[in-house]
Amino acid sequence: MSDGDSEERGFPSLRLVPKAEAPQSARDFKTDQEVRWCPGCGDYAILAAVQGFMPELGVRRENTVFVSGIGCSSRFPYYMNTYGVHSIHGRAPAIATGLASSRRDLSVWVVTGDGDALSIGGNHLIHALRRNVNLKILLFNNRIYGLTKGQYSPTSELGKITKSTPMGSLDAPFNPLSLAIGAEASFVARTIDSDRQHLQSVLRAAAEHEGTALVEIYQNCNIFNDGAFEVLKEAGTRDEALIRLEHGQPIRFGAQAANGVFRGPDGELFTAPVTADNEARLLVHDAHAASPATAFALSRIADADTLHHTPIGVLRDVRRPVYDELMESQLTAAVEQRGPGDLATLLAGSDTWTVD
């Protein structure tokens, strides 16, 4: 995609980031580092999709930063030919917050995993979301600990048999999107590693969003949790299992879009075959709804065991004050009210005396 397109689209969250002088290609974003994920890992597909998408932003490569924590996904920055920090377990949102709130001329991306973001780093994630710092968080969810070789993660299903849970895990899993919506996230989306086109469309929406965007990417770990999302990918099952959300459109899914999502009299959402009678009552997806209630309900419509009726796409995308913008405006206001700081005046204070 050419630079011109992105100008038109405008990526409002990147308006302070210098534009690239020449069109870029995916190749510009590749590094000379050997990619060291396991052969067949879903991370390869995500990397290729992100590298393919970055030129669309039309901003200077040197003004783009990827920050990660610890885990398989967190090796991501090494493979992006931008600025990058591979930090420590769970802390990427905090580090990225400091960077994004002090450098509004940067496009800052966080790459994290289900263990990194939801377990050890849960606190930083929820606070980044509520603050609404201009960060794009890509949460690779493979529902397992990969780098430590196969323990259950905070998104693993109850009863999961792993090395650390030979009799089954006792932990109820987190629903990352419900958590994010509960944490006042202004942008929440989900996509799948293998669906490049959809993945890139979600990245595009996230990049357009002003504030923190949380993108959950279902990612296959073919070593420790292979096939975790197979039902969403297999030609035979995916139509029934996936609900593709599009803003402003009635929510339909299944072969020939035969099924839809409806709101019951109790306010709960349910799925049912679409008929001539009920078609008018189909739920129309409104990602921009002020209330998070419907987005929250959508985030929980999937069957936790079978993953049937898993919505993908942008669940929520609303405008809310952006932390770094507010921070900057306080600095500007302080200068307007009191003039630029003068060090000599500050040090002297108001109560001084002189010794001759």
Partner: protein
Amino acid sequence: MTSQVDQSEAVDGSDGDGGRTGSGAQRPGAAGPAGPHAPGSPPPGGAKPVRRLDRVIIRFAGDSGDGMQLTGDRFTSETAAFGNDLSTLPNFPAEIRAPAGTLPGVSSFQLHFADHDILTPGDAPNVLVAMNPAALKANLPDLPRGAEIIVNTDEFTKRALAKVGYPADPLGDGTLDGFHLHKVPLTTLTLEALKDSGLARKDAERAKNMFALGLLSWMYHRPTHGTEAFLRGKFAKRPQIAEANISAFRAGWNFGETTEDFAVSYEIAPAALPAGRYRNISGNLALAYGLIAAAQRSGLPLYLGSYPITPASDILHELSKHKNFGVRTFQAEDEIAGIGAALGAAFGGALGVTTTSGPGVALKSETIGLAVSLELPLLVVDIQRGGPSTGLPTKTEQADLLQAMFGRNGEAPVPVVAPATPAECFDAALEAARIAVTYRTPVFLLSDGYLANGSEPWRIPDIGELPEIDPKFATEPNREDGAFWPYLRDPHTLARPWAVPGTAGLEHRIGGIEKQDGTGSISYDPANHDFMVRTRQAKVDGITVRPVEVDDPTGDARVLVLGWGSTYGPITAAVRRVRADGGEVAQAHLRNLNPFPANLGAVLRSYEKVIVPEMNLGQLALLLRAKYLVDAESYNQVRGLPFKAAQLADVLWAAIGSLDEEDHR
């Protein structure tokens, strides 16, 4: 306590002494030098004798809700404005409002002021203002015989006495024989003074601390206009309260002027400090100013990532006020996020700072290790308090030295800078920033609760005298082939280039995984790791720091006393005492604890005995013994309070004596 003053200039060998050292010269009819007087009252000293003193130690003590810290602060400001040298010690409970009238609820503020340069808040008060029985009971053991005690008799009710376990009224049962007791019904007098103010009794009663302040201001000829202006400003939105407090303050002054009980007032001439413009400053304020100055001198925007913790929070509060300097303050969700944000900002080219105390450092350790590995500038400010764990949050201690030195996984050396006095916190912040920026490394700045809240006069520096700090950002590729290697080091400093995002052609990735020398690419190579570990250590070891200076006036001393941090005041006061009494002792004080000054080993070896007083169980001594194989002797105290000069003087005499004994054996 002016740190700039050469110790040899000290005129009073008895600094910190509990006894009053007044000259006793009575000048009936002489007004105080500043001639302060409350409007509506005659000038002080008009009728009563004035006695000259060279120094006084006053302690204000009361319930946590009695406003003793404010009273002490105001008296300090008046004293600073008058031109005395001074040193303060606030002491308050960790609870915001401990149960009223109880011993744990007592809050106090001690102030030592003099006509010469002094170093400590003083060992024992000459004057105690006790607002209730608990304040009397908690502080009486610290008072030398002959001290003046001013008590608020209104609070000495049966119930209040019983609450603190006084079987009988100590004001009448002989407990205070040997002290000079002033029984003043402070509450009644305050209410009487405010009877026309229109305030409810409860509100009027609150002004009794200002009555006490007025009385003490009269006794010591303090200028009063500053306090009146302060009260008007503080209660600008409630002028009735402002006027009531001012009325109580004046009533206290007039009470001293007219009542028979206070027969004498005292005059302490301004101190002869080095020429210059002065202000009073606390350690935390000086530190905050030092950070702003470092940002200005380096041209780097200041970014503070912090989480509230006693006794460091005041730095966060202070920096939050100065957004017009481009200062960004980020109150994070926890200690880890505080330092994480500071490090992220540093990656972006800011002067990243995090402020905390011991428990917070424990949480930040992993990120400090990351900063060591990333080799980015970062300031970690630790205002030490009593530990372990929550410990004594409002009390002082210097037991985080080894945590700062070694409290990380792997070999993760971090430079350590420690200020010696409240005012020196300003210079220490600049020094820490210089090291961090020049060498691309996190730096520990170890202050403590005593420095943080204590205050002293500070000669305001000219901006031009402040050191410049050059960040020397990388702007171009550093390889002939046009590549940029993020770990290609400066051959002299071993610092790596600091290339900030937005710089074209220098895109690079850094992380906590071991990296290949030069290129910065991930490397698990054994020889490379060995090399990188040694190089990071060599970089810190090679930091240029000023040599340690030894104060040994005769050159004949056999005993060296070596300290670090806030023990400077009491150690120096003790050294003066020993010398005044004919003893010979050398003194040195460390501002840089990692790396140590290059001459430290030679200094230590040139004395027969080295005494190291510390408010911990011997952490610096452990380092000295390990590094220099010298028999450094620890002297320790972990009471949450600074050393007393008298106590340390005894220790030094004992050390001198033990050598003499050996000679005679």
